[in-house]
Symmetry: C3
Subunit: 297 residues, 3 copies
């Protein structure tokens, strides 16, 4: 026990000084944004609050009586306005604090004014899910137990902030949903209403994707970049890197569709495990005739 005490009294401080020096002088990270674990926890709660406003029967703790609904919603929106604009202000970098406060408030007010539109899109998403999955017994089952609702609602909220050029917070939102659902939708993607992702684990949708109406994806589908680098090996920041998926397309499990010039035409069906890096004309079925071989065990 003496050795332990000696080590704690002598070594811990030395190691702490090394780490402190490294944080202060070295290649440090994460001092610009004032957005620690507590702030992220609050952003997560505000996302839950937005879901409760959109689907009170499912995302509130308790059932809200009908005649109290409008007050519940207004209270929730007021809390979201005040708290979310504070977090947004903390990630803005204008030198004038007043400008940051102004821009943060404008962003939150745009987001809140969009909520009825976002709800309308989500109802289209839920309808596509019900029509697309024979295992769904009711619309309510979808809202209560399908991971795509969490992922797509979070995406539609985060996308609104992304368009307003709010840094980091849209990505914090999308990663929270990625962690819970396995579905990784970059807030920059542009996705029309009527979108369904079944099961969803492993789905990746890149920053510059465009997805039309009534599109269905299954688990493991990647809509990604062909290569993140240009010919000189530098990252292709800002370029269109990810595919476009037109209306009424279905893409089965683990298909990989890559490239900023790739367009999957209206009404096409992409089979499972397909690897597509070129455009597909409308109304085409693409399938993967991968030869399997057999022998006796």
């Amino acid at each position: 026990m003496d050795a332990i005490n000696n080590w704690m009294n002598n070594s811990l401080y030395k190691i702490s000084k090394i780490l402190e020096k490294d944080l202060k002088t070295g290649y440090h990270v994460n001092s610009d944004f004032n957005i620690g674990l507590a702030s992220r926890g609050e952003i997560y709660s505000l996302l839950d609050k937005m879901l409760a406003v959109l689907f009170p029967g499912c995302y509130c703790n308790e059932k809200i009586p009908e005649d109290e609904m409008v007050f519940f919603i207004e209270d929730a929106l007021r809390e979201i306005t005040l708290k979310l604009s504070k977090h947004i202000r903390d990630v803005l970098s204008d030198e004038s604090e007043e400008n940051n406060i102004q821009k943060a408030f404008e962003a939150v007010s745009v987001l809140i004014e969009q909520l009825p539109e976002i709800r309308k899109a989500l109802l289209e998403d839920i309808k596509t899910a019900y029509n697309g999955d024979p295992a769904a017994k009711s619309l309510d089952e979808i809202v209560l137990s399908y991971p795509c609702i969490d992922a797509i609602a979070t995406y539609r909220i985060a996308h609104t902030l992304y368009k307003l050029e709010i840094p980091v917070i849209p990505r914090i939102m999308s990663e929270r949903s990625h962690s819970r659902t396995g579905i990784d939708i970059h807030p920059g993607a542009q996705i029309q209403p009527g979108f369904f992702i079944d099961h969803g684990t492993g789905v990746v949708i890149g920053e510059t994707c465009k997805i039309g109406k009534n599109v269905i994806l299954y688990q493991g589908v990647t809509l990604g970049a062909l290569s993140p680098f240009d010919k000189k090996g530098n990252p292709l920041r800002g370029a269109k890197r990810h595919p476009d998926i037109e209306d009424n397309v279905i893409i089965y499990a683990n298909a990989t569709i890559l490239g900023g010039n790739t367009i999957i035409g209206k009404g096409s069906i992409i089979g499972g495990n397909c690897w597509v890096t070129e455009s597909i004309p409308p109304g085409t079925i693409v399938y993967n005739k991968n030869e399997i071989k057999m022998k006796n065990n």
Copy 2:
């Protein structure tokens, strides 16, 4: 700051009224089931309690002294009976409240009487895991750190309620485990004891699958439907849509096996990334001779 206050005083109420109207008159969702966030939280706790009864050394908070074990178990079962039957009652739709109470209690009592049988099956699952994974150093390591234990235990509990035709709650249970493990087992699947899923992220097992004894799956395996639609484009509700896997089959990473008529015969091995939509005779090795091409970088 005035603009902010003005907006909050004027716009929030208007937006709240729009959302309220939409909830009351439009295509609303999720008013039938009285199963909000708090109820789902309690269902999750009850699942944990069942795991604690099945594996007290691992899923209890603290070690239970041996001579208190039977009291701990009885207390836990009593709590599960009372609370779970309340939640089940809330999702039943018989017009007579008394019938709902009766049916809910019967469902919980059947589930609790099945727990020793479920534990026996899980011990077979753990044995298969130990024999199937060279990285496992002990049985305890598997129960303490393998995600398949969470996924398969949850499945075996949810399946019991699914067979009793309890709506939504089995799916809420399976999605909780899907969120934590990346393994999506529909409660309707029929899975014999001795089942092991290694790593597991991305595994999808459909509602009408049947899986025999001592089957091993790796990450990313899909046992799914060929298409969710019939020839007229309507969802195939109720039909047998997913494959059967016979005893002693091994299916390697990211293989996709589809279709309600597909049977993988006893003792077969399906190689990684294989795409199988037809039956495979017993004792067959299936592998994917996908040609890779190489060039100098």
Copy 3:
């Protein structure tokens, strides 16, 4: 209600006795390690504390003032030393309690002395991420919102304990990160600095993998074993079963690379969905020319 009370009074105790007997006499699990749910919760908190020491701006609850930083770090390290060594002692199996205490303390002190080295490696990892992902707007965004930071930091901590032959706890750590990120890195793998995993869901890295400097993986990549069994069907415990990846290799989404003799040479690029079970010479591009077929829908 009488039926319910009768059943509770008569059946619950009987079922409890069956489960108790099964736990005491049957093929039980999980009595050796004293590491229940509460202990695992504390191990998770200690992991968070280590992340807070490594990246205080991101993983602390609140911003730490610069002149308090060294005290914050020292306090955190002291708490980690005391609590983690207690949990490690509980999983050690030497008959002498004193030896267990000694070994546990030595393990924690080695881990804490390694933290500056671990931080240096993580900074290389973050740099590779920034250079490898055009969607990353800043280094801070990566630390705040990329799942690979959680996965790789946890791996570097767990690997240090694995090398010191601490049972179970490294796997409990890696599974926690697997659950949150979908990235499953076995603590036994040997991974050089400058490692980046983009998106990450479904990535599996086996126990005996070796990975060089500046390697990039995408979602769904498996670095696994060809088969877990030897020719007699016994698990290959202890053998080298997983591939080696040399410096500056990029492996795209859903590629599967298997086998203990497989070496992917320096600077090679493995295309998405490729299936590789043999060594690849340095500087090679491997791609999967999987034929897709098309027909009109």
